[in-house]
Amino acid sequence: MKELKASMAGTVLNVLAAEGQAITPGQAVLTIESMKMEIPVEAEIGGTVEKIHVEIGGFVNEGDLLITVGE
Protein backbone atom coordinates (compact mmCIF):
# COMPACT_ATOMS: atom_id res chain seq x y z
CA MET A 1 0.00 0.00 0.00
CA LYS A 2 1.32 3.47 -0.95
CA GLU A 3 0.34 6.91 0.25
CA LEU A 4 -0.01 9.96 -1.96
CA LYS A 5 0.74 13.10 0.05
CA ALA A 6 0.30 16.80 -0.69
CA SER A 7 3.47 18.46 -1.99
CA MET A 8 2.16 21.91 -1.02
CA ALA A 9 -0.59 23.54 0.98
CA GLY A 10 -3.81 24.46 -0.79
CA THR A 11 -7.52 23.90 -1.27
CA VAL A 12 -8.80 20.73 -2.96
CA LEU A 13 -10.56 21.89 -6.13
CA ASN A 14 -11.42 18.54 -7.66
CA VAL A 15 -11.12 14.82 -6.94
CA LEU A 16 -10.58 13.06 -10.26
CA ALA A 17 -10.49 9.45 -9.03
CA ALA A 18 -12.92 7.29 -7.07
CA GLU A 19 -12.33 4.64 -4.42
CA GLY A 20 -11.97 1.26 -6.10
CA GLN A 21 -10.77 2.81 -9.37
CA ALA A 22 -7.61 1.58 -11.08
CA ILE A 23 -5.08 4.34 -11.72
CA THR A 24 -1.83 4.48 -13.64
CA PRO A 25 1.43 6.34 -12.84
CA GLY A 26 1.23 9.96 -13.99
CA GLN A 27 -2.56 10.05 -13.95
CA ALA A 28 -4.04 13.24 -12.46
CA VAL A 29 -6.08 12.21 -9.43
CA LEU A 30 -6.72 15.56 -7.73
CA THR A 31 -6.40 19.27 -8.39
CA ILE A 32 -5.29 21.64 -5.68
CA GLU A 33 -5.51 25.41 -5.80
CA SER A 34 -2.63 27.22 -4.21
CA MET A 35 -1.85 30.94 -4.58
CA LYS A 36 -4.47 31.34 -7.30
CA MET A 37 -2.94 28.52 -9.36
CA GLU A 38 -4.64 25.26 -10.21
CA ILE A 39 -2.18 22.40 -9.78
CA PRO A 40 -2.84 18.81 -10.85
CA VAL A 41 -1.67 16.12 -8.42
CA GLU A 42 -0.52 13.04 -10.29
CA ALA A 43 -0.29 9.49 -9.02
CA GLU A 44 3.33 8.44 -8.56
CA ILE A 45 2.48 4.77 -8.84
CA GLY A 46 -0.28 2.71 -10.39
CA GLY A 47 -2.77 0.57 -8.47
CA THR A 48 -6.25 0.75 -7.05
CA VAL A 49 -7.51 3.74 -5.08
CA GLU A 50 -8.24 2.33 -1.62
CA LYS A 51 -9.21 5.46 0.22
CA ILE A 52 -9.57 9.17 -0.58
CA HIS A 53 -8.75 11.15 2.55
CA VAL A 54 -9.83 14.62 1.38
CA GLU A 55 -12.94 16.25 0.03
CA ILE A 56 -13.60 19.02 -2.46
CA GLY A 57 -13.25 22.43 -0.82
CA GLY A 58 -11.13 21.04 2.01
CA PHE A 59 -7.77 22.57 2.90
CA VAL A 60 -4.60 20.48 2.97
CA ASN A 61 -1.17 21.26 4.36
CA GLU A 62 2.10 20.11 2.83
CA GLY A 63 2.61 16.45 3.71
CA ASP A 64 -1.08 15.69 4.39
CA LEU A 65 -2.31 12.30 3.24
CA LEU A 66 -4.45 12.62 0.10
CA ILE A 67 -5.00 9.13 -1.26
CA THR A 68 -4.07 5.56 -0.27
CA VAL A 69 -3.27 3.35 -3.23
CA GLY A 70 -3.27 -0.44 -3.02
CA GLU A 71 -2.01 -3.16 -5.36
Binding site: M8, A9, G10, T11, S34, M35, K36, M37, I39
Partner: protein, 449 residues
Protein backbone atom coordinates in the same frame (compact mmCIF):
# COMPACT_ATOMS: atom_id res chain seq x y z
CA UNK B 1 -12.21 62.81 1.53
CA UNK B 2 -11.36 62.35 5.17
CA UNK B 3 -11.50 58.59 5.58
CA UNK B 4 -11.45 55.67 3.12
CA UNK B 5 -11.78 51.90 3.36
CA UNK B 6 -9.36 49.79 1.33
CA UNK B 7 -11.13 46.73 -0.07
CA UNK B 8 -7.88 44.86 -0.63
CA UNK B 9 -4.86 43.46 1.12
CA UNK B 10 -1.05 43.27 1.24
CA UNK B 11 1.15 45.37 -0.98
CA UNK B 12 -1.50 47.52 -2.66
CA UNK B 13 -3.29 48.24 0.62
CA UNK B 14 0.01 49.37 2.09
CA UNK B 15 0.71 51.50 -0.99
CA UNK B 16 -2.68 53.27 -0.67
CA UNK B 17 -2.22 53.80 3.09
CA UNK B 18 1.13 55.48 2.43
CA UNK B 19 -0.41 58.11 0.17
CA UNK B 20 -3.40 58.59 2.48
CA UNK B 21 -1.08 59.16 5.44
CA UNK B 22 0.76 61.85 3.47
CA UNK B 23 -2.54 63.52 2.56
CA UNK B 24 -3.98 63.26 6.07
CA UNK B 25 -6.72 60.80 5.05
CA UNK B 26 -7.65 58.10 7.57
CA UNK B 27 -7.75 54.49 6.38
CA UNK B 28 -9.70 51.38 7.27
CA UNK B 29 -8.03 48.05 6.42
CA UNK B 30 -9.99 44.82 6.06
CA UNK B 31 -8.29 41.49 6.61
CA UNK B 32 -8.93 37.77 6.71
CA UNK B 33 -7.87 35.56 9.62
CA UNK B 34 -4.63 34.67 7.81
CA UNK B 35 -3.64 38.29 7.20
CA UNK B 36 -4.02 39.72 10.71
CA UNK B 37 -0.23 39.96 11.22
CA UNK B 38 0.59 41.66 7.91
CA UNK B 39 2.01 45.20 8.05
CA UNK B 40 -0.89 46.87 6.19
CA UNK B 41 -3.27 45.90 9.01
CA UNK B 42 -1.27 47.70 11.68
CA UNK B 43 -0.39 50.62 9.41
CA UNK B 44 -4.03 51.53 8.72
CA UNK B 45 -5.87 53.88 11.07
CA UNK B 46 -8.43 51.13 11.77
CA UNK B 47 -8.61 47.44 10.92
CA UNK B 48 -11.53 45.04 10.59
CA UNK B 49 -11.49 41.25 10.54
CA UNK B 50 -13.76 40.63 7.57
CA UNK B 51 -13.88 36.82 7.48
CA UNK B 52 -12.04 33.51 7.15
CA UNK B 53 -9.16 32.88 4.76
CA UNK B 54 -10.77 32.02 1.40
CA UNK B 55 -11.32 35.22 -0.61
CA UNK B 56 -14.97 34.38 -1.24
CA UNK B 57 -15.56 34.40 2.51
CA UNK B 58 -13.54 37.56 3.19
CA UNK B 59 -12.23 39.97 0.56
CA UNK B 60 -15.12 39.29 -1.83
CA UNK B 61 -17.85 39.80 0.77
CA UNK B 62 -19.43 42.81 -0.94
CA UNK B 63 -22.30 43.43 1.51
CA UNK B 64 -20.16 43.00 4.59
CA UNK B 65 -17.43 45.33 3.30
CA UNK B 66 -19.99 48.05 2.50
CA UNK B 67 -21.66 47.57 5.87
CA UNK B 68 -18.32 47.97 7.69
CA UNK B 69 -17.50 51.05 5.62
CA UNK B 70 -20.84 52.69 6.51
CA UNK B 71 -20.48 51.75 10.15
CA UNK B 72 -17.05 53.43 10.27
CA UNK B 73 -18.16 56.57 8.51
CA UNK B 74 -15.90 56.37 5.47
CA UNK B 75 -16.31 58.70 2.47
CA UNK B 76 -14.90 56.38 -0.15
CA UNK B 77 -13.74 52.83 -0.94
CA UNK B 78 -10.53 52.11 -2.82
CA UNK B 79 -10.63 48.64 -4.40
CA UNK B 80 -6.90 48.35 -5.25
CA UNK B 81 -6.36 45.82 -8.05
CA UNK B 82 -7.67 42.27 -8.46
CA UNK B 83 -10.42 41.11 -6.05
CA UNK B 84 -13.36 43.59 -6.36
CA UNK B 85 -11.56 46.27 -8.37
CA UNK B 86 -13.35 45.47 -11.64
CA UNK B 87 -16.62 44.32 -10.13
CA UNK B 88 -19.33 46.62 -11.51
CA UNK B 89 -21.86 45.37 -8.98
CA UNK B 90 -19.57 46.37 -6.11
CA UNK B 91 -18.93 49.83 -7.59
CA UNK B 92 -22.68 50.32 -8.02
CA UNK B 93 -23.47 49.23 -4.46
CA UNK B 94 -20.78 51.52 -3.01
CA UNK B 95 -22.37 54.47 -4.84
CA UNK B 96 -25.90 53.47 -3.78
CA UNK B 97 -24.69 53.31 -0.17
CA UNK B 98 -23.69 56.98 -0.51
CA UNK B 99 -19.94 56.53 -0.68
CA UNK B 100 -17.44 57.25 -3.45
CA UNK B 101 -16.00 54.33 -5.39
CA UNK B 102 -12.38 55.31 -6.08
CA UNK B 103 -12.32 54.15 -9.68
CA UNK B 104 -14.42 54.56 -12.80
CA UNK B 105 -18.22 54.30 -12.84
CA UNK B 106 -19.92 50.92 -12.69
CA UNK B 107 -21.17 51.41 -16.28
CA UNK B 108 -17.63 51.78 -17.62
CA UNK B 109 -16.41 48.78 -15.61
CA UNK B 110 -19.28 46.68 -16.97
CA UNK B 111 -18.76 47.74 -20.56
CA UNK B 112 -15.00 47.19 -20.56
CA UNK B 113 -15.21 43.99 -18.49
CA UNK B 114 -17.08 42.32 -21.30
CA UNK B 115 -14.30 41.75 -23.82
CA UNK B 116 -16.67 41.33 -26.75
CA UNK B 117 -18.51 44.53 -25.87
CA UNK B 118 -15.26 46.43 -25.42
CA UNK B 119 -13.99 45.19 -28.81
CA UNK B 120 -17.22 46.37 -30.41
CA UNK B 121 -16.96 49.78 -28.72
CA UNK B 122 -13.38 50.22 -29.93
CA UNK B 123 -14.23 49.21 -33.49
CA UNK B 124 -16.95 51.88 -33.48
CA UNK B 125 -14.49 54.42 -32.11
CA UNK B 126 -11.99 53.65 -34.85
CA UNK B 127 -9.38 52.06 -32.56
CA UNK B 128 -7.65 49.11 -34.30
CA UNK B 129 -8.57 45.78 -32.69
CA UNK B 130 -7.17 42.26 -33.20
CA UNK B 131 -9.14 40.50 -35.97
CA UNK B 132 -11.64 38.08 -34.45
CA UNK B 133 -15.29 37.29 -33.89
CA UNK B 134 -17.60 40.21 -33.12
CA UNK B 135 -20.02 38.02 -31.15
CA UNK B 136 -19.51 35.11 -28.76
CA UNK B 137 -19.26 31.73 -30.49
CA UNK B 138 -22.03 29.43 -29.30
CA UNK B 139 -20.97 26.06 -30.64
CA UNK B 140 -17.86 24.23 -31.76
CA UNK B 141 -19.26 24.13 -35.32
CA UNK B 142 -19.59 27.91 -35.33
CA UNK B 143 -16.09 28.30 -33.86
CA UNK B 144 -14.60 26.09 -36.56
CA UNK B 145 -16.34 28.09 -39.29
CA UNK B 146 -15.16 31.41 -37.85
CA UNK B 147 -11.64 30.01 -37.44
CA UNK B 148 -11.53 29.29 -41.18
CA UNK B 149 -11.98 33.03 -41.81
CA UNK B 150 -9.62 34.26 -39.05
CA UNK B 151 -6.91 31.64 -39.68
CA UNK B 152 -4.64 29.73 -37.28
CA UNK B 153 -3.01 30.15 -34.86
CA UNK B 154 -5.73 31.85 -32.87
CA UNK B 155 -6.68 32.56 -29.29
CA UNK B 156 -9.78 31.17 -27.67
CA UNK B 157 -10.81 33.62 -24.95
CA UNK B 158 -13.43 34.05 -22.25
CA UNK B 159 -15.39 37.27 -22.78
CA UNK B 160 -15.42 37.90 -19.03
CA UNK B 161 -11.80 36.75 -18.62
CA UNK B 162 -8.73 38.48 -17.28
CA UNK B 163 -5.30 37.88 -15.78
CA UNK B 164 -4.51 35.24 -18.38
CA UNK B 165 -7.28 32.96 -17.11
CA UNK B 166 -9.66 31.44 -19.63
CA UNK B 167 -7.48 31.91 -22.66
CA UNK B 168 -5.83 29.27 -24.79
CA UNK B 169 -3.78 29.35 -27.99
CA UNK B 170 -4.98 26.99 -30.71
CA UNK B 171 -2.60 26.06 -33.51
CA UNK B 172 -5.03 23.99 -35.54
CA UNK B 173 -8.58 22.81 -36.07
CA UNK B 174 -7.77 19.80 -33.92
CA UNK B 175 -6.57 21.98 -31.03
CA UNK B 176 -9.65 24.17 -31.26
CA UNK B 177 -11.85 21.08 -31.16
CA UNK B 178 -10.00 19.77 -28.11
CA UNK B 179 -9.98 23.06 -26.21
CA UNK B 180 -13.42 24.50 -26.96
CA UNK B 181 -15.44 22.87 -24.17
CA UNK B 182 -12.62 23.15 -21.65
CA UNK B 183 -12.24 26.94 -22.13
CA UNK B 184 -16.04 27.34 -21.98
CA UNK B 185 -16.16 25.38 -18.72
CA UNK B 186 -13.28 27.33 -17.20
CA UNK B 187 -14.93 30.60 -18.19
CA UNK B 188 -18.10 29.50 -16.44
CA UNK B 189 -16.22 28.27 -13.37
CA UNK B 190 -14.02 31.37 -12.95
CA UNK B 191 -16.25 34.17 -14.17
CA UNK B 192 -19.78 32.74 -14.02
CA UNK B 193 -20.13 33.45 -17.74
CA UNK B 194 -19.32 30.92 -20.46
CA UNK B 195 -19.30 33.30 -23.44
CA UNK B 196 -16.11 32.77 -25.42
CA UNK B 197 -14.75 34.30 -28.63
CA UNK B 198 -11.92 33.88 -31.11
CA UNK B 199 -9.08 36.28 -31.80
CA UNK B 200 -6.23 36.00 -34.28
CA UNK B 201 -2.91 35.17 -32.62
CA UNK B 202 -0.40 37.87 -33.49
CA UNK B 203 3.02 36.23 -33.67
CA UNK B 204 6.10 37.78 -32.03
CA UNK B 205 3.97 40.54 -30.51
CA UNK B 206 4.90 42.88 -27.72
CA UNK B 207 2.42 43.72 -24.98
CA UNK B 208 2.43 47.48 -24.59
CA UNK B 209 -0.10 49.41 -22.54
CA UNK B 210 -0.89 53.06 -22.01
CA UNK B 211 -1.82 54.57 -18.65
CA UNK B 212 -4.76 56.93 -18.99
CA UNK B 213 -6.60 59.14 -16.50
CA UNK B 214 -9.93 60.93 -16.82
CA UNK B 215 -11.68 63.40 -14.52
CA UNK B 216 -15.31 64.43 -14.08
CA UNK B 217 -14.77 67.68 -16.00
CA UNK B 218 -14.25 66.02 -19.38
CA UNK B 219 -10.45 65.98 -19.25
CA UNK B 220 -8.57 62.87 -20.34
CA UNK B 221 -4.79 62.52 -20.36
CA UNK B 222 -2.28 59.74 -20.97
CA UNK B 223 0.79 59.06 -18.86
CA UNK B 224 2.77 57.31 -21.60
CA UNK B 225 3.28 53.61 -22.08
CA UNK B 226 4.74 50.51 -20.42
CA UNK B 227 6.15 47.41 -22.07
CA UNK B 228 4.82 44.33 -20.25
CA UNK B 229 6.08 41.59 -22.56
CA UNK B 230 8.09 39.54 -20.06
CA UNK B 231 5.47 37.05 -18.91
CA UNK B 232 5.05 33.56 -17.53
CA UNK B 233 1.77 31.63 -17.71
CA UNK B 234 0.35 34.68 -19.58
CA UNK B 235 1.02 36.82 -16.50
CA UNK B 236 3.45 39.68 -16.31
CA UNK B 237 6.79 39.37 -14.51
CA UNK B 238 8.76 42.44 -15.65
CA UNK B 239 7.46 45.77 -16.91
CA UNK B 240 9.37 48.80 -18.09
CA UNK B 241 8.79 52.35 -19.21
CA UNK B 242 9.51 53.71 -21.73
CA UNK B 243 9.25 50.65 -24.01
CA UNK B 244 12.65 49.84 -25.49
CA UNK B 245 13.03 49.89 -29.27
CA UNK B 246 9.73 51.65 -29.86
CA UNK B 247 9.95 54.46 -32.43
CA UNK B 248 8.76 57.78 -31.01
CA UNK B 249 6.20 58.12 -33.81
CA UNK B 250 4.63 54.74 -32.82
CA UNK B 251 4.65 55.75 -29.14
CA UNK B 252 2.73 58.90 -29.99
CA UNK B 253 0.19 56.99 -32.10
CA UNK B 254 -0.29 54.44 -29.29
CA UNK B 255 -0.94 57.17 -26.73
CA UNK B 256 -3.38 58.86 -29.13
CA UNK B 257 -5.23 55.57 -29.70
CA UNK B 258 -5.47 55.08 -25.93
CA UNK B 259 -7.03 58.52 -25.55
CA UNK B 260 -9.42 57.69 -28.38
CA UNK B 261 -10.39 54.51 -26.48
CA UNK B 262 -10.88 56.44 -23.24
CA UNK B 263 -12.97 59.14 -24.93
CA UNK B 264 -15.21 56.46 -26.48
CA UNK B 265 -16.45 55.57 -22.99
CA UNK B 266 -16.05 58.96 -21.22
CA UNK B 267 -13.45 57.36 -19.00
CA UNK B 268 -12.89 58.62 -15.45
CA UNK B 269 -10.16 57.83 -12.89
CA UNK B 270 -7.17 55.52 -13.57
CA UNK B 271 -7.31 53.08 -16.45
CA UNK B 272 -5.02 51.23 -18.79
CA UNK B 273 -5.46 50.52 -22.46
CA UNK B 274 -3.63 47.34 -23.45
CA UNK B 275 -2.34 46.82 -26.98
CA UNK B 276 -0.37 44.20 -28.76
CA UNK B 277 2.24 45.48 -31.15
CA UNK B 278 3.46 43.30 -34.00
CA UNK B 279 7.04 43.23 -35.41
CA UNK B 280 6.06 45.88 -37.99
CA UNK B 281 4.86 48.18 -35.18
CA UNK B 282 1.24 47.74 -36.18
CA UNK B 283 -0.80 47.75 -33.00
CA UNK B 284 -4.18 46.44 -31.93
CA UNK B 285 -6.42 47.09 -28.92
CA UNK B 286 -6.52 44.12 -26.57
CA UNK B 287 -8.55 45.29 -23.57
CA UNK B 288 -9.05 48.13 -21.15
CA UNK B 289 -8.31 47.62 -17.45
CA UNK B 290 -10.59 49.81 -15.37
CA UNK B 291 -8.40 50.09 -12.29
CA UNK B 292 -4.95 50.98 -11.04
CA UNK B 293 -2.50 48.41 -12.42
CA UNK B 294 0.04 46.36 -10.48
CA UNK B 295 2.75 48.01 -12.58
CA UNK B 296 1.69 51.62 -11.95
CA UNK B 297 5.00 52.37 -10.13
CA UNK B 298 7.01 52.31 -13.38
CA UNK B 299 4.81 55.13 -14.62
CA UNK B 300 5.17 56.92 -11.28
CA UNK B 301 8.95 56.58 -11.43
CA UNK B 302 9.27 58.11 -14.91
CA UNK B 303 6.64 60.82 -14.47
CA UNK B 304 7.36 61.65 -10.82
CA UNK B 305 3.62 61.47 -10.05
CA UNK B 306 1.63 59.68 -7.34
CA UNK B 307 -1.19 57.89 -9.14
CA UNK B 308 -3.02 56.97 -5.93
CA UNK B 309 -3.12 60.69 -5.08
CA UNK B 310 -4.51 61.35 -8.57
CA UNK B 311 -7.17 58.70 -8.03
CA UNK B 312 -8.26 60.27 -4.74
CA UNK B 313 -8.24 63.74 -6.26
CA UNK B 314 -10.34 62.72 -9.29
CA UNK B 315 -12.78 60.75 -7.11
CA UNK B 316 -13.16 63.87 -4.97
CA UNK B 317 -14.10 65.98 -8.01
CA UNK B 318 -10.65 67.43 -8.67
CA UNK B 319 -9.41 68.44 -12.09
CA UNK B 320 -6.49 66.89 -13.98
CA UNK B 321 -3.52 68.91 -15.20
CA UNK B 322 -3.04 69.58 -18.91
CA UNK B 323 -1.42 66.90 -21.06
CA UNK B 324 1.62 69.03 -21.88
CA UNK B 325 2.56 69.33 -18.20
CA UNK B 326 3.09 65.55 -17.95
CA UNK B 327 6.68 64.70 -18.85
CA UNK B 328 8.88 61.66 -18.34
CA UNK B 329 12.47 61.35 -17.23
CA UNK B 330 14.79 58.35 -17.30
CA UNK B 331 13.84 54.71 -17.39
CA UNK B 332 12.08 52.48 -14.84
CA UNK B 333 11.81 48.68 -14.60
CA UNK B 334 9.52 46.74 -12.25
CA UNK B 335 10.23 43.14 -11.25
CA UNK B 336 7.53 41.06 -9.57
CA UNK B 337 9.08 38.86 -6.92
CA UNK B 338 6.91 35.76 -6.54
CA UNK B 339 6.94 32.98 -3.95
CA UNK B 340 7.35 30.28 -6.55
CA UNK B 341 9.79 27.77 -7.96
CA UNK B 342 11.85 29.66 -10.58
CA UNK B 343 11.92 26.67 -12.92
CA UNK B 344 8.37 25.33 -12.76
CA UNK B 345 6.62 28.50 -11.53
CA UNK B 346 4.79 26.34 -9.00
CA UNK B 347 3.72 28.20 -5.84
CA UNK B 348 5.89 28.09 -2.76
CA UNK B 349 3.97 29.28 0.30
CA UNK B 350 5.80 29.45 3.63
CA UNK B 351 7.32 31.68 6.30
CA UNK B 352 9.66 34.49 5.26
CA UNK B 353 12.50 33.50 7.54
CA UNK B 354 14.73 36.18 6.08
CA UNK B 355 13.79 39.16 3.90
CA UNK B 356 16.70 41.43 3.14
CA UNK B 357 16.35 43.76 0.15
CA UNK B 358 19.49 45.92 0.07
CA UNK B 359 19.74 49.38 -1.50
CA UNK B 360 19.00 50.92 -4.87
CA UNK B 361 15.35 50.12 -5.50
CA UNK B 362 11.84 51.15 -4.58
CA UNK B 363 10.28 48.19 -2.78
CA UNK B 364 6.52 47.73 -2.71
CA UNK B 365 5.81 44.77 -0.48
CA UNK B 366 2.98 43.49 1.67
CA UNK B 367 5.33 41.47 3.86
CA UNK B 368 8.09 41.83 6.40
CA UNK B 369 10.54 39.27 7.72
CA UNK B 370 8.74 36.64 9.80
CA UNK B 371 5.41 36.94 7.95
CA UNK B 372 3.70 33.95 6.39
CA UNK B 373 3.06 33.85 2.65
CA UNK B 374 -0.09 31.77 2.74
CA UNK B 375 -1.52 29.58 -0.04
CA UNK B 376 -4.80 31.52 -0.06
CA UNK B 377 -3.75 34.51 -2.12
CA UNK B 378 -1.52 35.73 -4.93
CA UNK B 379 2.12 34.54 -4.78
CA UNK B 380 3.58 38.04 -5.19
CA UNK B 381 5.87 38.92 -2.29
CA UNK B 382 7.04 42.23 -3.60
CA UNK B 383 7.58 44.55 -6.51
CA UNK B 384 11.08 45.85 -7.04
CA UNK B 385 11.17 49.08 -9.05
CA UNK B 386 14.48 50.42 -10.29
CA UNK B 387 14.93 53.80 -11.93
CA UNK B 388 17.92 54.94 -13.95
CA UNK B 389 18.88 57.95 -16.04
CA UNK B 390 18.51 55.61 -19.02
CA UNK B 391 17.84 51.90 -19.66
CA UNK B 392 21.51 50.90 -19.41
CA UNK B 393 21.74 52.46 -15.98
CA UNK B 394 18.47 50.85 -14.85
CA UNK B 395 19.76 47.45 -16.02
CA UNK B 396 23.11 47.73 -14.31
CA UNK B 397 21.45 48.93 -11.10
CA UNK B 398 19.08 45.94 -11.36
CA UNK B 399 21.94 43.46 -11.55
CA UNK B 400 23.70 45.03 -8.59
CA UNK B 401 20.44 45.01 -6.63
CA UNK B 402 19.54 41.36 -7.22
CA UNK B 403 23.04 40.25 -6.23
CA UNK B 404 22.34 41.61 -2.76
CA UNK B 405 18.83 40.28 -2.08
CA UNK B 406 18.35 37.48 0.44
CA UNK B 407 15.00 35.75 0.88
CA UNK B 408 14.85 32.57 2.91
CA UNK B 409 11.90 30.37 3.83
CA UNK B 410 10.15 30.25 0.46
CA UNK B 411 11.40 29.67 -3.07
CA UNK B 412 11.43 32.82 -5.21
CA UNK B 413 12.18 33.93 -8.77
CA UNK B 414 15.13 36.11 -7.66
CA UNK B 415 17.62 33.66 -9.22
CA UNK B 416 15.72 33.92 -12.49
CA UNK B 417 16.00 37.72 -12.44
CA UNK B 418 19.74 37.49 -11.69
CA UNK B 419 20.33 35.56 -14.89
CA UNK B 420 17.64 36.95 -17.15
CA UNK B 421 18.40 40.63 -16.50
CA UNK B 422 21.88 40.15 -17.97
CA UNK B 423 20.72 38.02 -20.89
CA UNK B 424 21.27 39.18 -24.45
CA UNK B 425 17.53 38.88 -25.19
CA UNK B 426 16.48 41.22 -22.40
CA UNK B 427 19.39 43.65 -22.67
CA UNK B 428 18.75 44.11 -26.40
CA UNK B 429 15.24 45.34 -25.60
CA UNK B 430 14.11 43.55 -28.71
CA UNK B 431 11.77 41.04 -27.11
CA UNK B 432 8.21 39.78 -27.53
CA UNK B 433 5.78 38.10 -25.11
CA UNK B 434 7.35 34.66 -25.49
CA UNK B 435 10.82 35.88 -24.47
CA UNK B 436 10.91 34.36 -20.98
CA UNK B 437 9.80 30.79 -21.81
CA UNK B 438 12.02 30.89 -24.92
CA UNK B 439 15.03 32.04 -22.92
CA UNK B 440 14.39 29.37 -20.29
CA UNK B 441 14.16 26.68 -22.94
CA UNK B 442 17.32 27.87 -24.68
CA UNK B 443 19.35 28.11 -21.51
CA UNK B 444 17.97 24.97 -19.86
CA UNK B 445 21.35 23.30 -20.10
CA UNK B 446 23.35 26.36 -19.12
CA UNK B 447 21.58 28.23 -16.40
CA UNK B 448 21.79 27.35 -12.78
CA UNK B 449 18.48 28.53 -11.37
Amino acid sequence: MKKILIANRGEIARRIIRTCNRLGIETVAIHSEADGDLPYVSEATEAVLIGPNPVVQSYLQVEKIIEEAKKRGVDGIHPGYGLLSENADFARKVAVAGMTFIGPSSDIIEKMGDKIESRRTMIQAGVPVVPGTEEGVKSLEEALQEAEVIGYPLMLKASAGGGGIGMVRCESEQALTQQFESVKNRAKAYFGDDVIYLEKFIADARHIEVQIFGDHHGNLVHLYERNCSVQRRNQKVIEESPSPNLPQEVRERLCEAALQAGKAVNYTNAGTVEFIVDPNNEFYFLEMNTRLQVEHPVTEEVTGLDLVEWQLNVADGGELPAQDTIQTHGHAIEYRVYAEDPKTFFPSPGKLEKLQWGEGARIETGYEEGNLVTPFYDPMISKVIIHGADRDEALSKSQAFFNNVTINGVKTNISLFKEFVGSEQFVSGDYATAVLPQWMEKTKEEHTL
